[in-house]
């Protein structure tokens, strides 16, 4: 137990170093934060439209508008409606969901390095998809949706159970360890399947890189209710997460149902990150990086962190997806690759600047 505590204290210390590092906070007053949130919303909407307009089939803003107001059945209009629109909305929703689930994971594990992946979400989804392709020859992106959602949920529930062994229930250290061990286990089995079967590799390689391309609007509308529930519950949880970040004992003393809140937050992670992976495959990086960027901008209050990180997550993924079309045209770079390329310099800048304030 003392060993556990030692690591736990270390992890917690690291957490505090982190927050202190980021305490230079860009927006300070309530007014600034509100205005900032609206600006983010405007930017998000702009990028949603830009994502519809720009791409291999180049159109103008005017044609794009006509495609929705005055549809004429042309190929151009058809692409805008059935390809670009879903892609754009999916990127916005997925980015927001991944960012929120990252915030929840980092609060639950009290570890700034945690991301939905630590919950085994991506590994579970990946394994489920690879099994379905190898054994049941599932073929379409549509078929992957529910398979991967299921895989993600099973993995996350498994992690939650293993992390809750013992009387003190779910502790940050146990969750972190259980999660990383289950994630490694699943992804190595996935690797095993891929090594045995080259056809499977060929088929799922692009899925495994994560992408918002080629998904139909139906896929989004099917999963959207789960995401929406996740968004609403996360917003409602925000003030309770503030209590949770003061430590379990203080939170319990103030009458917070700590176990229930943790379970709810974990369920949200399953809905959000599970839903995201179901639609787009494992898109990494957003879940771990956006929470840090958000805290650097508006500080430690979850009532601001959650809406802000949702906006910023959507913005990053949309921007990455638009750029991904241009880098090696006519081919496309997987969007997960682009998020890393855009996000990393920003992230490194914050990591360095944050510690300057000390």
């Amino acid at each position: 137990m003392s060993d556990n505590n030692r690591l736990l204290v270390s992890a917690h210390k690291l957490d505090q170093d982190m927050v202190r590092g980021n305490a230079f906070m860009l927006l300070k007053t309530q007014f600034q934060k509100t205005v900032g949130l609206y600006l983010c919303l405007v930017l998000l909407l702009f990028l949603i439209c830009a994502s519809i307009v720009y791409g291999y089939t180049d159109t103008s803003w005017k044609v794009a508008l006509e495609a929705f107001t005055d549809f004429n059945g042309s190929k151009e209009h058809l692409i805008l409606q059935s390809v670009r629109l879903p892609r754009s909305l999916i990127a916005a929703c997925i980015g927001a969901s991944l960012a929120i689930s990252g915030v929840l994971m980092q609060t639950l594990t009290k570890n700034p390095l945690a991301s939905p992946e630590i919950f085994g979400i991506n590994a579970g989804a990946g394994l489920a998809v690879v099994i379905s392709v190898t054994i049941f020859s599932a073929g379409s992106t549509q078929a992957y949706t529910w398979v991967s959602f299921l895989g993600a949920a099973i993995a996350a529930i498994g992690v939650y159970i293993v992390g809750s062994f013992g009387r003190e229930g779910l502790t940050p250290l146990k969750l972190t360890l259980a999660g990383s061990v289950v994630a490694v286990l699943f992804s190595s089995i996935t690797q095993g399947f891929l090594v045995i079967s080259e056809t499977t590799l060929d088929q799922v390689l692009f899925w495994l890189a994560g992408s918002v391309q080629g998904r139909k609007l139906d896929t989004l509308t099917a999963v959207l209710p789960y995401l929406a529930v996740g968004w609403v519950i996360s917003l409602l949880l925000a003030s309770k997460l503030n209590l949770l970040s003061m430590g379990d004992d203080v939170a319990k003393g103030l009458g917070l149902k700590v176990g229930f809140i943790k379970l709810t937050a974990a369920s949200c992670v399953i809905l959000l990150a599970g839903g995201a992976v179901a639609i787009a495959g494992p898109v990494g990086f957003i879940g771990i990086v956006i929470p840090h960027i958000t805290r650097a901008i508006i500080g430690i209050d979850h009532r601001w962190i959650i809406p802000y990180s949702a906006m910023l997550g959507g913005i990053l993924l949309l921007a990455a997806d638009i750029l991904a079309r241009y880098v090696i045209m006519p081919q496309e770079v997987p969007v997960g690759v682009m998020t890393a390329i855009i996000g990393t310099p920003f992230f490194i800048h914050i990591a360095r600047k944050g510690f300057n304030a000390n």
Partner: protein
């Protein structure tokens, strides 16, 4: 260094387990040879057939597997000590992904249309080592600002690691699928095809590096207590951190160069060791090294025998063997 009885017992037990798995692995394959005959063959008293099979085919890869397991486990233990975070491992600060990127680029750039390589494959380990070293340098350089703090190191590591993975994915998708699957095997980690030349390079390298690591152990104990305490007891924190980081990089680099990105060992072997013998690194690092070696040897054995004639990379099995055991340890210590 004080070793209590329990630690000594666990260490001895693991050592015997290592010897046993070593002999078992050397004896198992298309031709089964009993452990006794294996021992005879190794010591030079075996039959000619046994000696040939064992010394020229099986021993080199087992040696490589053992060294790689030790190297990764010790590197992981060191990094967890420096960074003071249970999620620290050679993967998280980008060492493995840097090496993977180098290897995949190597395969993609030097391939011709008909899948032949334009340069000798023996350059591959060197590319991997260079990838790990350059990444480590980059991370350290970007994290430097009046010294390197553990948090900054790990955050920048995550960033760089994500970039490297992005690069790897791009290379795999752009390149031909044949190369992609070859690269995939490499990324998963395998000691298949190791020869005596490999073993004779990796063995002394890892042993020397581990020797240095064990000598630096007391600095690691102090580092884990945090910057202030470390400085308070007179530790030259920055210098030692750099030195330890160099050792961890060199260990990871040598492992990755010869066996690819074998996962799990660097992350979990130190945790398993921690649960067996506690936190003092004097006991933890050697025990972690033994666990790492046993894991990779068994994983390799499983990989070449379970699905015979298919050869599964050892990296697939390290987690499959280690993870259930770790979950059992979590479960067992649930009340303490």
């Amino acid at each position: 260094m004080l070793l209590d009885k329990k630690t000594a017992a666990i260490f001895t037990g693991l050592l015997f387990l290592l010897i046993f798995t070593f002999l078992l692995s050397a004896g198992t394959g298309q031709l089964y040879i009993s452990p006794l005959d294996v021992a005879k063959a190794i010591l030079g008293f075996g039959s000619k057939l046994h000696t040939t099979v064992i010394t020229s085919f099986r021993l080199p890869r087992i040696m490589v597997a053992m060294m790689v397991g030790m190297a990764l486990a010790v590197a992981g233990g060191i990094l967890q000590g420096i960074i003071r975070n249970p999620l620290a491992s050679p993967d998280i600060i980008g060492l493995t992904s840097g090496a993977s990127f180098a290897v995949v680029s190597f395969l993609a750039l030097f391939s011709t249309e008909n899948n032949a390589l334009t340069v000798s494959i023996s350059w591959l380990p060197i590319a991997a080592f260079a990838g790990a070293a350059i990444t480590a340098f980059l991370v350290y350089f970007l994290a430097w600002k009046n010294g390197v703090s553990p948090v900054r190191l790990v955050l920048i590591g995550i960033g760089i690691s994500a970039l490297m993975q992005a690069g790897t994915t791009t290379m795999m998708i752009l390149g031909p699928i044949y190369r992609a699957s070859q690269a995939n095997i490499w990324i998963t980690g395998s000691v298949n095809g190791s020869k005596w030349t490999d073993a004779s390079i990796v063995t002394p390298l890892v042993l020397v590096l581990m020797g240095i690591a064990f000598m630096l152990v007391r600095h690691l104990n102090v580092q884990e207590l945090g910057e202030d305490i470390a400085r308070g007891v007179g530790s030259k924190v920055q210098k030692q951190r750099l030195l330890l980081l160099l050792i961890a990089t060199a260990l990871t680099g040598s492992a990755v160069a010869f066996a690819g990105g074998i996962g799990f060992v660097g992350l979990m072997a130190p945790h398993i060791a921690r649960r067996l013998v506690g936190s003092a690194f004097g006991a933890l690092l050697p025990v972690a090294a033994l666990i790492g070696a046993v894991l990779v040897i068994i994983a390799d054995l499983a990989g070449r025998t379970l699905f015979d004639p298919l050869e599964i990379p050892a990296g697939v099995f390290t987690a499959s063997i280690g993870a259930p055991y770790f979950i059992y340890l979590l479960y067992k210590t649930r009340n303490s």
